[in-house]
Symmetry: C2
């Protein structure tokens, strides 16, 4: 049977999983690729580190030149995190004639244009299924399976760490802090979880999906995003009372006035597929104008789900499918993108607002008239009962669900309301998602 | 831009949808395939029939020779139903050098071996994404995206017609007959709906998936199957009372003692993704040993979802991806299949049983001891109250949920119980699905 020599650069969690699949389950790649993927080298920084896997003699090395200098190694799984030296390594791999498979979404979101242009110029390819969705093959589905469609919308829970935290707060009654610590204990969150919880990771993945689905070339930092760091358990409870769950949602919608992109904690009606994505899972709702609505659900991270996506990419690369896709799709090429972003201020939607109110009588009227001034109507109100009336300075929560309002109007209205003397502290303002069908019909 | 000439044979609902995508949205194929798919010919039986689409001059023909004899036509969408002349047409297309895309699952389930071997011998390819799941790209996902996995289980709602009928019975309170008529009125069911409602269509699709996922070569008629024709609204109500919904489920499970395959109305716990697949939708739960559990949901039939899958296949074929997949996977080749089917009698699971009981006192004891004789324990019982006690011959329903039992034991026990003097008419016996995690841990 034909043999394709491959290498792994970076033997962290995912790299170890990839080595395991290649070494223990060669029969699978043989069956699906008609050839063996032969693990020739695994490059690490520190040879002395204890590893969870026994590699055959001569495979482990701390010298990347052994990969770069071996013309028989054709496909390399690049499993190095961060921007540098990850960027330099990927460029050197391409320049030495390797096709690359990577899981590094931060690198693609930051340097995708440069890396893909370089690969194209060199006649090489970059595959990146594992960069978004972990084990959920959302990249292949969007870039290959829906090619007859104009994608109209993508909504996703793209960050398993923050979804785990929100699920713990919602179902386990934890505070944000407690849930984050639980995530760190279980290995779902890094020691520095900033990128996961502030929406950056989801924005990077959304930037990649928006490029694939709409041809948009948008830097992830330009995607308006709100994280979950400020999320409070009591808002999850009010949302539940209203029939919703809160999720960190990444959203892309194709409109006549441009592409809408944003990442934010969003209320989703209970029972809808995305609302029921729990723990470290990822979920994607995609609407195409021919195929209609599709939903994908699976493990968004973790050693073996991510390794599964990396090895599938290695097989696709070895047999030649990736090369074809890479050439025909012309991803991140320097040709101008014909896609305008819609101004975030113009985004329409319903909002969940919570105010801490000092002095109830009359204040609802004040709030309602300030909302009205900005053209915002109220759909429903929850007024918390005073717990004990002998504490005169106590504040109570006033929760308002609005009808459709623009992002800009809702923000301006809230800023004005926050200046009222009877309002204590900042307002909580979250988007409420309609069903995609309803939203697309706007 | 490069141009690939294509043709459509069969201009029914799906063929018309394919023509629409090719003619109206050539920019999409250009963007995703780096080339135009140029519709050269559309072959129909009856040129005089009124069509929903205006084709350019010279495209419509009733003469297939115009396709076979034109060497510039490289890819043909074969959208002819049934076995003959569909089989002969596909063979002639292959022999005249065309790569074929088909949506005909009955043809593949019946003649897959012959057609794929012939295509291979001729250096041609057959793509068939649209044959299973309509717009849900389950074929690509299983044959390409999960190639690093041993698939452990697939469960699916594969037949939109029967799922529409069951949903109408469950939520609309209709009888089977009324729901079937509604399905026919709305175009979800054919005038002769036999293959849809008796489980044959689902079995044909399951045979295709089992071949892709497990390498099994099983004839669809050898897959044990029960349809929905005998389903009664009151069993859906009892199931709901117990926290379940009934769905026509197709199931494949990889076990140490062989592959389990069957199609049958099955109780699924409410809230699980498959239980919530409604109306004409399809849903697939797939478990791979690396990737974990995945769930896919989308429109399982209909003009544009199916056309979306066909055109994606035409693009994949035109750019060369299909050819690679077809060669490396060696589908339906004559090499012996190393997969044994597990005897259906040995299938383990819980069961829902409903007996019509004439004379209640003592009969539960009789039933319980006969179940016990076959090693079957009772998990819960619903005894219907007598409606009016002055009708002495009235029967009441006795619903029993069992713990794990084999298919054979449950069948034999029920046959014995049905012979009791106090039992009126045949028993209703349906499988109860555990969560896949639980079932795989058996």
């Amino acid at each position: 049977m034909e043999k394709t020599k491959v290498a792994i650069v970076g033997m962290g969690t995912v790299g170890t999983g990839v080595a395991r699949l290649l070494l223990d389950h060669g029969d699978r790649t043989a069956r699906h690729a008609g050839r063996t993927l032969w693990l020739q080298k695994a490059v690490v920084r520190d040879l002395t580190k204890r590893r969870e896997i026994d590699l055959p003699q001569g495979v482990l090395t701390d010298c990347i030149e052994e990969v770069l200098g071996d013309p028989e190694i054709r496909v390399v799984a690049h499993l190095v995190g961060g921007l540098e030296p990850a960027r330099t390594i990927i460029l050197r791999l391409l320049e030495s004639g390797k096709d690359v498979v990577t899981a590094n979404k931060a690198l693609l979101a930051e340097h995708g244009g440069e890396l893909f242009d370089r690969a194209r110029a060199l006649g090489r390819s970059i595959a990146f299924e594992a960069s978004v969705g972990g084990g959920v093959p959302i990249i292949t589905n969007i870039s290959q399976c829906f090619s007859a469609n104009q994608i109209l919308a993508i909504r996703g829970i793209l960050n398993g760490t923050s979804n785990f935290i929100v699920t713990q707060m919602d179902e386990g009654g934890m505070t944000y802090r407690e849930a984050l610590e639980a995530a760190q204990r279980l290995g779902y969150a890094e020691a520095d979880p900033t990128m996961d919880v502030d929406g950056s990771d989801a924005a990077q993945k959304l930037a990649i999906l928006a490029h694939l689905a709409f041809g948009a070339r948008v830097h992830w930092r330009d995607i308006p995003r709100v994280g979950i760091e400020q999320l409070q358990a009591r808002d999850l409870q009010y949302a539940a009372q209203l029939g919703y769950r809160v999720k960190l949602l990444a959203s892309a919608r194709w409109t006549d006035s441009g592409l809408e992109l944003h990442v934010s904690p969003t209320l989703l009606k209970k029972g809808r597929p995305l609302a029921e994505v729990r723990g470290p899972y990822n979920g994607f709702a995609v609407v195409g104008d021919a195929v209609g609505d599709l939903f994908f659900h699976g493990q968004g991270a973790g050693q073996m789900p991510t390794a599964s996506a990396v090895v599938a990419d290695m097989i696709d690369t070895a047999v030649g499918r990736t090369g074809i896709t890479f050439r025909t799709l012309a991803l991140w090429s320097q040709r101008p993108a014909a896609v305008d972003l819609r101004a975030h201020e113009d985004l329409l939607g319903r909002y969940y607002l919570r105010f801490q109110v000092k002095d109830r009588p009359g204040v609802l009227g004040q709030i309602a008239s300030l909302l009205g001034k900005h053209g915002i109507s109220i759909s429903s109100v929850i007024q918390e009962e005073h717990g004990s009336s002998n504490q005169p300075v106590q504040t109570v929560s006033l929760v308002i669900m609005t009808y459709d309002a623009s992002e800009g109007a809702s923000r301006r209205a809230v800023e004005e309301i926050e200046r009222l003397e009877s309002i204590d502290g900042p307002c909580v303002r979250m988007r409420v998602a309609e069903s995609l069908h309803k939203e697309l019909a706007r």
